[in-house]
């Protein structure tokens, strides 16, 4: 639930305004379908002219419809706990129409320790503690994972488009879009055998000194393998805005949430004092990105 509230708020709150408008409009359309009316509603009908049934915007440039979009992008995590992931990637998208499109993106990212890690690590002991659950500097950092590769395949809806004026001089087209789909990520952690040397976390171990005998579990999660490497598949949500610089170039600003099972710290989460798969949980990984979209073909058509 860490980033869920934030991401849902960003996506949901932006949608809220549109929903209000759309709801009002739907009510108006229902009123249109009603039978003979009297009173104020009838008077309202009389006031309507032919424009009521006309398109909201005429001679509009179809800046996305039937066009292929290629976007080199930069992306960074927002408010990550232990490591920021900052990377570059590419988004490829085909707009089936003016509102609907399908696409995929992939991002290669490097990892940077967050301020939290930088505060914790100097306070940890240099060497592993035998009779303490306090991790050493090496144990703590070796359990953190990275996300060298992540991406998504999605369907995108573009319900809003418009035009804005900046400083009364620059007039540009823009649109808002919302995306949903499947996310994937390649996670990586590099805990050396000298640190992660517990071969059976939480399990009795064979006693090397007495054949046939077992030792009780050590219940020390700091020497357990972090189990936070490998591929992950989950859900994807995104929302963004195209700001068109001309007919074929657009600034692409996006908030993306890649949600999948993860245990970023690689440590014991459920307090059973050893690390296993149960310590992973479904987490939101919130990113903000900026890209430059190239629309192909480069010439945009207009509506009538």
């Amino acid at each position: 639930m860490r980033n869920l509230v934030q991401s849902m708020m960003l996506v949901g709150a932006v949608s809220a305004a549109g929903l209000l408008v759309h709801t009002g409009e739907a009510a108006a359309q229902e009123a249109d379908k009603a039978g003979p009316e009297t009173g104020p509603r009838q008077a309202e009908e009389r006031r309507r002219n032919d424009l009521h049934t006309q398109p909201a915007v005429r001679h509009r440039k179809l800046l996305v419809a039937k066009r292929f979009e290629a976007t080199p992008l930069f992306e960074s995590t927002v408010n990550a706990d232990f490591r920021h992931f900052v990377g570059v990637g590419l988004k490829l998208e085909y707009h089936l129409g003016d509102k609907l499109s399908v696409g995929a993106l992939g991002v290669y990212a490097g990892a940077i320790n967050t301020g939290l890690v930088d505060k914790i690590v100097p306070t940890l002991p240099d060497m592993a503690q035998v009779d303490s659950l306090e991790p050493s500097k090496g144990q703590f950092q070796a359990h953190l994972n990275k996300m060298p590769l992540h991406g998504a395949a999605y369907v995108s809806l573009t319900p809003w488009y418009g035009k804005l004026a900046a400083f009364d001089s620059a007039f540009v087209n823009f649109d808002f879009y919302f995306q949903a789909g499947v996310s994937f990520a390649q996670l990586q952690s590099d805990c050396p055998a000298s640190i992660c040397n517990d071969t059976a976390p939480g399990q009795p171990r064979p006693d090397p000194n007495n054949a046939g005998e077992t030792l009780p579990p050590d219940f020390n999660p700091n020497n357990d393998p972090p189990l936070n490497s490998g591929g992950r598949v989950g859900a994807y949500l995104g929302a963004g805005i195209h700001v068109f610089l001309n007919d074929f170039l657009a600034l692409d600003l996006t908030v993306r949430d890649y949600a999948f099972n993860d245990n970023p710290s690689g440590a014991d989460y459920d307090a059973n004092r050893f690390v296993n798969d149960d310590d992973s949980r479904f987490l939101n990984h919130l990113f903000m990105g900026v890209g430059l979209s190239v629309m192909l073909p480069m010439k945009a058509k207009r509506t009538r």
């Binding site: 639930m1 860490r2 509230v5 934030q6 708020m9 960003l10 709150a13 932006v14 809220a16 305004a17 549109g18 209000l20 408008v21 759309h22 409009e25 002219n49 032919d50 424009l51 398109p55 909201a56 915007v57 005429r58 927002v78 408010n79 990550a80 706990d81 232990f82 003016d98 509102k99 967050t114 939290l116 914790i120 306070t123 940890l124 303490s132 659950l133 306090e134 991790p135 703590f140 319900p159 809003w160 488009y161 418009g162 035009k163 804005l164 004026a165 900046a166 400083f167 823009f174 649109d175 808002f176 999660p221 710290s265 440590a267 014991d268 989460y269 307090a271």
Partner: protein, 318 residues
């Protein structure tokens, strides 16, 4: 003949092609333009003349190329029109689509803010603190000096909740995080609106919006949350500038929805690392040895605004 007069004549002639133009003008009591038979309803033009001001003396928003000088007199043409005389040549109308590219259609803003007060209750939540999340309820009151510039005040009351890493750090790293909670804040703000626009929702309904920047200065109070509850915390008074960017969506003449981001920056004092019965035991001692840090508290804000007066009238010419 001045260019503006010629411009008005050309526009008035084009308006004759549009039957709907006369209807719109008749409803508004403006000067009437005779509709041409067979004209389609696709294009509407508004007469630039006003009852108090002759056509052609407007603010010059619409300009056409002077590739074909138009000879004539506006007053004579209007008189001829009143007498039922021909205002157009007989025969087929020649369309000049190229000229449309030169016409800048500037509609009036659907919402005016100048000399109005915006009362905006809002909700905000922390965006960049993975230890403690602060949620606030606040109120803004802004007065718009012009349509793009406003001055206002805001106040917020804070509540907090610890996030997952606060607990994880304690259990996994065996460290107790040092965190402060915020109690209240207030600020004097200035807002500038450089961007406005409109968009269509699902190709049906037009909605206007704008983007504005905020900068302000204010004060706040934070409190240390002691790692060991046996020792007292202490309060900090903070000088707190802020900057932000927000979007405003216009729902009606008096109702808007605002959302945006605000960065409150300040230097906060935190509980010292070493605290025992012999060291920093009292609040004053702890405060005097507190660790200072520069803080960016980025918050997402969502609010609804009521505008007073609840309606407005245009005082400028179209």
């Amino acid at each position: 003949m001045r260019p503006n007069v010629r411009t008005t004549l050309v526009i008035a002639s084009l308006a004759c092609l549009c039957g709907s133009a006369s209807l719109a003008l008749a409803q508004k009591g403006g000067a009437k333009a005779a509709p041409a038979k067979g004209a389609e309803d696709e294009i509407e033009l508004e007469d630039t003349a006003t009852p108090d001001k002759p056509a052609g003396e407007g603010d010059g928003e619409i300009e056409l190329e002077e590739d074909k000088p138009v000879e004539g007199n506006l007053e004579l043409d209007q008189q001829g029109n009143d007498l039922g005389g021909p205002t157009m040549k007989a025969g087929p109308v020649t369309r000049t689509p190229i000229s449309w590219k030169d016409i800048l259609v500037v509609i009036r803003k659907p919402f005016l803010k100048v000399r109005r007060v915006e009362l905006s209750p809002f909700f905000a939540t922390t965006m960049n603190d993975n230890m403690v999340r602060h949620n606030t309820l606040g109120l803004q009151a802004n007065y718009y000096l012009t349509d793009v510039l406003a001055v206002g005040v805001e106040g917020q009351l804070y509540t907090h909740q610890f996030r997952e890493p606060f607990d994880l750090v304690g259990r996994q790293a065996r460290r107790l995080p040092t965190v402060n909670e915020y109690n209240w804040s207030g600020a004097l703000n200035f807002h500038y609106v450089p961007v406005y626009g409109k968009f269509a929702v699902l190709d049906k309904h037009l909605l206007t919006w704008e983007v504005f920047f905020t900068a302000g200065i204010g004060a706040a109070q934070s409190s240390v949350i002691p790692r060991d509850r046996t020792y007292p915390g202490f309060d900090n008074f903070l000088i707190q500038p802020n900057v932000g960017v927000s979007m405003r969506f216009f729902l009606s003449k008096f109702l808007t929805v605002t959302m945006g981001f605000r960065d409150y920056v300040f230097i906060d004092k935190f509980e010292p690392t070493d605290r025992s019965a012999a060291m920093n035991a009292t609040a004053d001692q702890a405060k005097s040895n507190a660790d200072s840090a520069f803080i960016n508290n980025v918050m997402f804000q969502l609010g609804v605004s009521i505008w007073l007066p609840m309606s407005f009238e245009y005082t400028t010419f179209r």
